[in-house]
């Protein structure tokens, strides 16, 4: 399923090439211009523009009341966002590094996720928590993790993990409009990636996967940076005569099961790739979903998962790379899957 806005607007007048970080900023700014209830809060998001420059220039446009530099207090940032959301505000938190979600966990798990349910469906928590995740920047064990499976496990939260600038823009708009709490992961290595993004505001609904490449031999379900690695692997595998389909779920919760199942029914082979540690990673959920679905009868090879080694992220760049799946690993997994008799 494609986001129509992205594909229909090759028109030079409405799209231009911007980075992922700029796309996120544009989505935030457009929502804030549109709706006075939307505001952002987080550590160093004022003149500093946030740890990755995403909010740069925003305090100048929207002022310190709507671009709130916060004390260093992840529990309070998240709790205050929840409180304001309960009164109808639409807070968008920037959590400086997703690793610090640990400190916000009670507010997210026991509070944000539960309130609507415990208020009998009458309480809304329309908040978004944006947060940079992932390795590859030499930020070491406590600033590089991919813990999205933790929040995906909790009923009541939605979890978004975009892989491209245009997806990020449309998904963020949907996340802000959503009356439920949404965790929005931004992979650090993606911030500088560029592509054509429509200038006008548009929505990509949560729960719609995107087929990033069509193919017939093997399906690769990949998230965040792994989408790009899978696409590179697919190009190379094409030279070997293996035709790969790459699917980006874009949102883990809700998960677009149909797009994945349909693809596996077509190819009969599937590899699930993410950067998070393989053990207990969300890939296990996707793999089991496939095994339980009608696609099971179409499988010609076991479902394979690729994920990181079960170790903290090393600071050393060579070891950091060695920890997570690389293009070669994806290619090998695809070959193994296809050549299995």
């Amino acid at each position: 399923m494609q986001s129509s806005a992205v594909n229909s607007s090759n028109n030079k007048e409405t799209t231009r090439s911007i980075t992922f970080a700029e796309a996120v900023r544009e989505a935030l700014s457009q929502e804030m211009r549109e709706d006075q209830d939307v505001f952002i809060l987080g550590e160093d998001i004022g003149v500093y523009g946030g740890a990755f420059g995403v909010t740069r220039g925003m305090i100048e446009e929207f002022g310190p009341e709507r671009v709130r530099n916060t004390p260093i207090s992840e529990a309070a940032i998240t709790g205050a966002a929840i409180g304001s959301a309960l009164t109808g505000m639409k807070p968008v938190v920037e959590l400086q590094f997703s690793d610090f979600i640990t400190i916000a966990m009670d507010q997210l798990v026991n509070q944000a996720a539960k309130l609507r349910y415990m208020y009998g469906g009458k309480g809304n928590v329309p908040m978004v928590l944006r947060t940079p995740s992932g390795s590859g920047t030499g930020a070491a064990a406590q600033h590089s993790q991919s813990l999205e499976a933790w929040v995906a496990h909790v009923p009541g939260l939605k979890v978004v993990q975009p892989s491209t600038a245009s997806d990020a823009k449309g998904l963020l708009k949907a996340a802000i409009a959503d009356p439920n709490p949404v965790i929005f992961y931004e992979h650090k290595l993606l911030y500088k990636t560029q592509e054509h993004v429509p200038e006008e505001a548009y929505t990509i609904p949560l729960g719609e996967a995107d087929v990033k490449r069509e193919g017939t031999d093997v399906t690769i379900v990949a998230t965040a940076v792994m989408v790009h690695k899978a696409l590179e692997a697919a190009e190379k595998l094409a030279e070997e005569g293996i035709d790969v389909e790459v699917i980006d779920p874009r949102t883990l919760v809700p998960l677009d099961e149909k797009t994945i199942v349909d693809s596996v029914k077509k190819t009969g082979r599937v590899i699930v790739v993410h950067e998070a540690v393989k053990r207990g990673g969300y890939g296990g959920e996707i793999a089991s979903m496939i095994a339980e679905s009608e696609a099971f009868d179409y499988l010609d090879a076991p479902v394979r998962r690729l994920g990181a080694l079960p170790i903290p992220v090393p600071y050393n760049p060579a070891l950091e790379k060695a920890m997570v799946p690389q293009m070669d690993d994806i290619m090998q997994a695809a070959r193994d899957s296809v050549h299995r008799r």
Binding site: E43, D44, G46, N69, P71, I72, Y315, L319
Partner: protein, 360 residues
């Protein structure tokens, strides 16, 4: 009523100082009992640390050192508070507090390895009572309460001291750690180095409290605000805090200081959030200049002594870098191996797989 209470509380937190900006003693009664040799040793450490900071910054720029949070401007705060400790006391540092742990006994080459993310940098030698520098803001503060509790339980005459910044004082862990130590009468000292900024956020935006020291009141522990650019004052309050801690009375020390450099070497540009005027204003309060003046007036310091320290620091750093370079590179198998005391079966298999790969 409420306003009055705050004013009353705040009036108790005047900044404690012994040496003013010009190196003049303004508080004679508070002069700590330090010998001439000790005074010289303190100066030695400050000069050494300043040189080391400059070298670390340039080594980082050359790609020969990894993560580094500059310390210039905070030498008195760090070294003065450390100098009041005993060898057996425990230090729980934040990421910037590398000088204290090195002066406490962590070999310099290991500090460099820590900066490079080599696991040997975190292998603290036996008898050096420190934890590795904490990256997650606030985590060390609650742990300090626990270390202090352990010391008390074992009837040791030692204290746990922990360091955080003005930003760290906003974290829940900060309040919880102080409250815990207070409730258990644990021998703990909490130092907040208020260097005016938490990355880009000025301390005025961090809290409505006029001082950070006054936050001790709610926890029922001692609180003191001290001129963190004055090493004698820093030493003196820590010495007192140590005595109180051993009596089951923890202290919060707010050290008012400044960091001259960027937040860390990972691309911070302080001109985005600080003015040159502010930098200049603080550089006039420099801890080295005023203590050097004080010592020179007593004939305890001169250019020759200063140069000796500079040369020694440079030589030590060179040697430490060499030692760090000579340390065997870490391998993926090392990282798997250090995960558990005894490896679970699946990790054992992965370990063997990696060893096999590495042997080729």
């Amino acid at each position: 009523m409420a306003t009055k209470t705050i004013e009353q509380v705040e009036s108790h937190f005047e900044m404690f100082q012994i040496l003013n900006e010009n190196g003049e003693v303004v508080n004679k009664d508070a002069m700590p009992d330090l010998s001439d040799e000790q005074l010289q040793e303190i100066m030695h450490r400050m000069v050494y640390t300043r040189i080391w900071d400059q070298r670390a910054i340039s080594l980082n720029r050359q790609g020969r050192l990894g993560f580094y949070a500059p310390v210039a401007g905070q030498e008195a705060s760090m070294i003065g508070s450390h100098y009041a400790l005993e060898k057996e006391d425990w230090i729980l540092p934040g990421y910037r507090d590398v000088p204290q742990v090195v002066w406490h006994g962590l070999p310099l080459y290991q500090a460099f390895l820590y900066s490079r993310g080599h696991f040997h940098g975190g292998q603290i030698p036996e008898g050096v009572n420190i934890l590795p520098p904490q990256i997650i803001i606030g985590a060390q503060i609650v742990q300090a309460a626990g270390v202090a509790l352990g010391l008390k339980r074992r009837h040791k005459d030692n204290v746990a001291i922990t360091y955080t910044g003005d930003g760290g004082a906003s974290q829940g862990d900060f309040y919880e750690g102080m409250n815990f130590a207070g409730a258990y009468e644990a021998p703990a000292i909490f130092v907040v180095q208020n260097n005016q900024f938490a990355i880009s956020v000025p301390v005025e935006e961090q809290s409505a409290a006029k001082t950070i020291a006054q936050k001790a009141v709610a926890a029922g522990i001692h609180g003191v605000q001290v001129d963190g650019m004055d090493i004698l004052a820093m030493y003196s309050v820590t010495e007192t805090a140590r005595k109180n801690a051993l009596n089951g009375e923890p202290t919060l020390i707010e050290s008012v200081c400044y960091r001259y450099g960027p937040h860390t070497m990972a691309g911070d540009d302080p001109t985005r959030y600080r003015t040159e005027e502010l930098d200049n204003e603080w550089e006039k309060k420099d801890p080295l200049i005023r203590f050097r003046k004080f010592l020179e007036d007593k004939d305890l310091w001169n250019e020759e002594k200063e140069n000796e320290v500079v040369d020694q620091a440079k030589a030590d750093i060179k040697e430490a870098i060499k030692q760090a370079d000579d340390t065997p590179k870490q391998k993926a198998s090392d990282l798997i191996e250090i995960m558990y005391e005894k490896l679970p079966q699946n990790l054992q298999e992965q370990l063997e797989e990696y060893r096999e790969k590495e042997s080729k």
